[in-house]
Assembly symmetry: C2
Homo-oligomer: 348 residues x 2
DNA sequence: ACTGGTTCTGGAACCGGTTTCATCATCTCC
DNA sequence: GGAGATGATGAAACCGGTTCCAGAACCAGT
């Protein structure tokens, strides 16, 4: 015998069973005002008895609010632990505020020309979510196209590229300039004079950090040095290759500021292979404070970015944006923190 | 002057503008049969002109299908790169199949007693999603409670604990037993005889791997050795502490099979600190093939788990489950792969 | 021109909730 | 005890889609 799938219980079933109107049941569902305690108790009892679970979509459709947000990772090549942790911050905050999170990844990658980036399918319909959180590698033009759909959005400010025109939007970020400057100043205080920066400045975040580094150097009346690599996409390899040119330079630096921890890792490994030790021969600082920082030996001195906190701030700012459309836009900075470990050695 | 937020365009607006019936417009929306080419073109034109974006929730409510799945990470302490990559596999597969993914994390953690684990709020309503993917650390009882709500689900089989009773469900997993056995056999072929296993067997996945290790040892007529640590929760530290007891043992092993790469990393670091080298003094293999494996020096020989592939398989299996309710349940195994790097040295 | 059969089409009913509204019971106050 | 305010209630309209259905338009065959 075929057992039929039982029809789900609806609000009208509850109303009928409780000999009440659907309106009353609905008011009970929503912690309703204007329901007598006796009636409420009775209807709650009936709901429990029937195993009533209200239909989420149906509730949202008339309520005009989906209570979902979408975390959109722009660019498939950026599926990394950094964004995973921002997502985690978003999720934590969302669940505290009774919201749910849709996780989506834009279908393009780094090979896609900026003008050709398609809008993700989830944007084709309205009503999936109330607002959008953008991370990854974000183009200004992409933001403007989404804004044209009147979708509330916030973005991880550090990751926005505006080669194709600026955009106005709410952003949360960290101060890469200041963070790197502080790390550089720390190296200077430790007695270092020839300090190099290694990072691919075609990415906006490395550009910003490079500027912070340069500012600190100039401020200390020191000459900024940069070493680069060509034609590598992975960050660790970028660091590894850049070291090659660093070692052949006539006045070898005594310290390196790496654009992030992955690059620092590459630098570390390349030095190790050359028989050079961190920090005995060359001191090293990174940026991000990823897991790698603790895995290196000695553990890496680096600039910690509070990724979960950024996620939380993104979520909160998005909710404000949803409730208050239109300018002005705000910019929230989550402060970084220099984490001193053992990869830097003072120089007399 | 206050600029009113423009009312969103509905299907009835399109119908009115196109002088057509809503039914016809709906049929056009759904690639509809029984619409004359001329009418279709005309209505599409009107839709484009009005910037019509259909309301997702409204479409789903009568369609009885949300086209969403929920990726639920059970246990907050398991927010790690492993699950992030499974999630990535799920997302990739979902977007190919025009589904969206809700990312949720259960609000309990490892301190929560199994019986006290609350159902996540997203389960209180129906209609958010069509099916559930469970990862993290999953209790059999938890699964049964969700099944009682008639929610289709699949789970990462390796991560299910059945101390509180078994459960029947669709599962995708990898064969930890076989994977570790192969790694152990590889060590044996390389001439090792005293091989130890290090891993906290109170976790189901380490238990399974430990059994695979033991089977391979017995099969090679060797005696299984285990070293453990007490009262540490982080895996790397577990490895580090276990090494202490390993080094004091009377007949020191020449090779170690670690429960996973994090433990292997801890082992590696502890040995390094004792002035012992991998692989010269002790050979080492891990499990998972996480990022850490490549960061160690020398890079770690380990058993690769195809995490994205597992995510894809979970997604596909879930869709099957949604369309065909009721037993039988299936079990899908994604094969592992021994990745030989340089952390093992042959013994004469 | 009439028939029978497709193909198209618009309108109504429906999905499962929320919100508005009219009604009626109670309560307060003079 | 009657007027007016307040609270509780059920019915109906609504949210924005889909689906069903009756009828119109069209077509070929005799």
């Amino acid at each position: 015998m075929m057992k039929p799938v039982p029809e789900p219980v609806t609000i009208r079933d509850v109303a009928r069973q409780a000999r009440a109107g659907v309106g009353t049941v609905s008011r009970v569902l929503n912690g309703g005002a204007n329901v007598s305690p006796a009636t409420r108790e009775w209807i709650l009892e009936v709901m429990r008895h029937l195993d009533f679970r209200p239909h989420a979509q149906a509730r949202r459709i008339s309520g005009r609010r989906s209570e979902m947000v979408c975390f959109l990772l722009c660019n498939r090549d950026f599926v990394h632990s950094f964004h995973a942790r921002v997502l985690q911050g978003v999720e934590t905050c969302a669940s505290e505020l009774s919201r749910h999170v849709i996780y989506a990844v834009s279908c393009h990658n780094s090979n896609t020309p900026p003008g050709r980036i398609p809008l993700p399918p989830i944007l084709r319909e309205r009503g999936w979510f109330d607002g959008l959180i953008l991370t990854g590698l974000i183009y200004g033009n992409f933001i403007r196209r989404i804004q044209a759909l009147r979708i509330p959005l916030v973005a991880l400010g550090n990751n926005v590229v505006t080669v194709d025109g600026a955009a106005e939007f709410d952003r949360v970020g960290f101060d890469g300039h200041k963070g790197t400057a502080e790390a550089t100043e720390y190296l200077i205080r430790q007695g270092h004079r020839r300090i190099a920066f290694i990072g691919d400045t075609s990415f906006p975040w490395f550009k910003e950090r490079q500027k912070g580094y340069a500012a600190a150097m100039l401020n200390g009346r020191l000459e900024p040095l940069a070493f680069t690599a060509k034609g590598v996409s992975a960050f660790a390899e970028y660091g590894e290759q850049a070291v090659a040119s660093l070692l052949t330079s006539k006045s070898r630096p005594t310290a390196v500021v790496a654009g992030n921890d992955k690059i620092a890792y590459g630098v570390w490994r390349a030095l190790l292979r050359q028989g050079l030790s961190v920090p005995d021969h060359i001191s090293l600082v990174g940026f991000d404070d990823r897991e790698e920082a603790l895995l290196m030996e000695p553990p890496l001195t680096t600039v910690r970015v509070h990724k979960e906190e950024i996620g939380e701030a993104l979520m909160k700012l998005l909710l404000e944006r949803i409730h208050r459309p239109g300018p002005p836009f705000t910019r929230r900075i989550i402060s970084t923190e220099l984490v001193v470990r053992r990869s830097v050695k003072p120089r007399p």
